[in-house]
Symmetry: C2
């Protein structure tokens, strides 16, 4: 591989072009290729030898862990407890709720046997035909059925309600076309499953969790989202109402970032879950379920990152600050390390995660590239001139701005930057989103904007699945949601001309 030279603070460094060092495809050139390359090069995830299943690499998993920790805290603050239910679902359970099995049957991993053995002809290991299961087991695509089968035992009286349970788990949906984080056969997620005495309370719970997800997306991921409900055809299989949060990626495509379902009494009836109310009368329980998954990683990456690599919100960055020494020889490195040590300690005591990268196997230029690619929000460099002047060179990842800061103000500067970057990337994403919601009033205009600008299209629709389906077939755009804060506005459907009372949001979507 060829070497190239990089100029850092007036000094020339030689850096090897490794696979990591190679430039990313630009977003403008090929957004999809840019995404795929970025996920791999930033060490977030990669494809495995198992069709459609990914390996989440340590750096990617560290971001997911930060998301988990915050979501888990928010779930607990809203009264939920964690539990764990079986990976396998007997085929007969899945079949109990008609629309549910309809929705998931086509993409199920099915366990049919429980043993391997040596082939008698010596050809290797085979599935033992004598170890066939009486009833096939489905690897959970979601856990409503196995959980409601359990809730029948847990719920007898109104005193047992509400039951507010969450599970962190892996699930499998045999998708034909997969993409790292966005759509994989196996993915990690959380699924909340709650049981309530009244319809009103269950609806309030489903709405609450939509708001929790939105708060998490906005405040922690820095991803602006629109809250709304799904149309009947886009609803979760078995739900009465599906609430969702929808985000917009830089290429103008929408991404569903989380859903919360009001399930009515569908699962309670399918699994015969009743409770004695205060008057002693038996009633069916009301249900919700809600989930977000490793798909959020895709939303995070695609919302903020640029042609130089990942841009991470400080609140979810595994490394918030990296310090790179620029030196010649061990003596200089020792002197820098001595200067840096108390700073590292002070930052850690403030809960700021900091990495001092004193590897002597890589040059500063290589390190600069690496942390840019990995989206570390704040980078400090310290060389001989800084040692003499008592300064650091501080660079922020979101804007690439650099400045020289005196050592005695450095902690305050870092604290300011972490807050400011968090705000700034949200603001930038919000501006992009606001610039990409377009009101359209005819199907012609709809198609034209969809083709040339993308983003959300706010349009009147007659409320029928037929029109929705026609638009989807003709343009590939779907109704992402009926925004919860949509204003009443009399209009007529852009396709059928029939009356409509509010606009809905269309987009092409991931």
């Amino acid at each position: 591989m060829p070497n190239y030279f990089i100029l850092i603070k007036g000094r020339k460094f030689c850096a090897k072009l490794t696979s990591m060092g190679k430039k990313l495809t630009k977003r403008e050139e090929d957004y999809s290729k840019w995404y795929n390359e970025l996920v791999v090069k930033a060490d977030l995830a990669e494809s495995s030898g198992v069709r459609g299943c990914m390996v989440i690499k340590p750096y990617g998993y560290a971001i997911w862990e930060k998301m988990q920790a915050q979501l888990d805290k928010m779930f607990k603050e809203t009264g939920h407890e964690n539990a764990y239910f079986p990976l396998f679902i007997p085929k007969s359970y899945l079949s109990k709720e008609a629309s549910h099995v309809e929705g998931f049957a086509k993409e199920c991993a099915v366990v049919t046997h429980y043993r391997l053995k040596n082939a008698e002809d010596g050809s290797g290991i085979i599935v033992d035909p004598d170890a066939k299961l009486e009833e096939e087991l489905i690897v959970r695509p979601t856990s409503e059925t196995i959980i409601w089968d359990t809730y029948r035992r847990w719920i007898q009286s109104y005193r047992d309600l509400p039951l507010l349970v969450n599970q962190w788990a892996n699930v499998v949906r045999w998708e034909m076309r997969t993409r790292l984080f966005l759509r994989t056969a196996e993915f990690l997620w959380q699924e909340g499953h709650t049981a309530h005495a009244t319809e009103k309370e269950a609806i309030a719970e489903a709405e609450q969790m939509m708001h929790v997800y939105a708060e998490f997306a906005e405040e922690y991921m820095g991803v602006p989202v629109i809250k709304g409900t799904k149309t009947a055809s886009e609803r979760f299989a078995g739900a009465v109402e599906t609430y969702c949060i929808e985000a917009l990626m830089q290429d103008g495509k929408a991404l569903q970032a989380g859903t919360s379902h009001f399930l009515g009494q569908n699962f309670a009836k399918a699994f015969d879950v009743k409770f004695a109310n205060k008057e002693g009368k038996q009633e069916h329980v009301w249900a919700t379920s809600w989930g977000v998954s490793t798909r959020l990683m895709g939303a995070l990456i695609m919302t903020h990152s640029d042609d130089n690599g990942l841009v991470l919100p400080p609140k979810l960055a595994p490394i918030q600050v990296v310090i790179v020494p620029i030196y010649r020889g061990e003596d200089q490195l020792d002197a820098i390390s001595e200067r840096v040590a108390p700073l590292v300690k002070e930052l850690r005591s403030k809960g700021i995660s900091v990495k001092y990268d004193n590897r002597d196997t890589h040059k500063p230029g290589f390190k600069f590239n690496e942390y840019e690619l990995k989206g570390v929000p704040v980078r400090l460099a310290i060389g001989q001139r800084d040692m003499e002047n008592g300064t650091y060179e501080v660079a922020r990842r979101d804007t690439f701005e650099k400045e020289t800061v005196a050592a005695d103000g450095i902690v305050g500067k870092i604290e300011f930057l972490l807050e400011d970057i968090q705000k700034n990337i949200h603001k930038k994403a919000l501006e992009h989103r606001e610039n990409h919601i377009t009101e359209v009033n005819s199907y012609e205009e709809f198609k034209e904007v969809l083709e040339n600008k993308g983003g959300f299209l706010s349009a009147h629709w007659d409320g029928t699945p037929e029109t929705e389906e026609r638009i989807k077939e003709e343009t590939k755009a779907t109704i992402r949601c009926i925004p919860i804060d949509a204003e009443e506005e009399e209009g007529s459907c852009m396709v059928s001309g029939k009356p409509s009372l509010k606009r809905v949001l269309f987009a092409k979507a991931y």
Copy 2:
């Protein structure tokens, strides 16, 4: 159900005998039944509708979460990062390491199809025969094979080593006889998988993780363990050496609480994982793997609990302190609540988890039973006399000791008790363990002690798998480990009379 009366602080309460209130089977009567009842009644776990799979209930899961958090911290402190690998393992991967597939083939859940469909005869949902996988997928029983297939891509140079990765995951082993937590078809665990440049470093890693596990067991679970190595026949399938920690339950049976394996170059060779050393020469990588599972819950429960229910070490108790108000009427409750509020706040600010149980649907006697059953380490009660005298009644779960403590000393008392209970239950378990290690010098004596006293039997063995197998067949005792601190002692095998250089530990085991 009949009512019964309970006397609390001189006042008589009526308590309904609910299913929870029913007395546990006594350990002496039937230890195994006691365990099964306790796990269910203390709301830790229950069997599911899926053969051999358990539901971990919120209270049980909360204990597991505390274990996870501490272990995860210890793994990270020793330089490990988390990642996530696929649930499914292609059959051909599993077959690559000969002794590995030998060890796991008999208990594999096998995915053969990826779709369900409606039966043409209308009989319901069936597996779609057209959706047969070309190669069957195994639900991971452990992840060495899929991980080493990945490591081949991650490791090229000595600079990539050591690779120190851990995974928190579910695994499946199709066990025929299952017991909640101790042996289930699906269980939760962590599995560390590390790669090293040298044999010495890999062995040091395997040993380090055995010590980490031992420290966790002793310091957090309060479970004394013996560190040692397994005999060849008890080794992990594919390991060169298996290190383990062995605990002793109250019934005199041993329980393997964690294992750490030095895998030599077996998996590196099977999956062709080589690195360029500093001289540029290609070498196979050295490996370890190590894991603990939800089985630890079984060890925790069986080590400390008594005929009244669970006894939990304060460091892992989801609720460390419960406060139960004893009152007549809302006015009294309000006055107590007002007194208790600042105490709750102060305890929480010190990181102590406290529950103030002001439910008016249950009587104090019911609550006392419930928290005893659930092993809450410290219970406070406050009634009218305490209100007048400015006191609390404090009870500790491990010894049932009760005393009246002035409100101004209560926080210090609680802090003392939490530490003291942690120490005391470990001490008690250690005494039991020490009283149940018996040196035996003949096979007769061995059988006699095994039958009448149980526990660990320290005996000479000739080192052959034949003798080991004979003892196992005749007595059901296995060699639990060769203790790492076993002193050299010349002797002769109690069965064959052949020379032996150190004693090994036998026991019947879970």
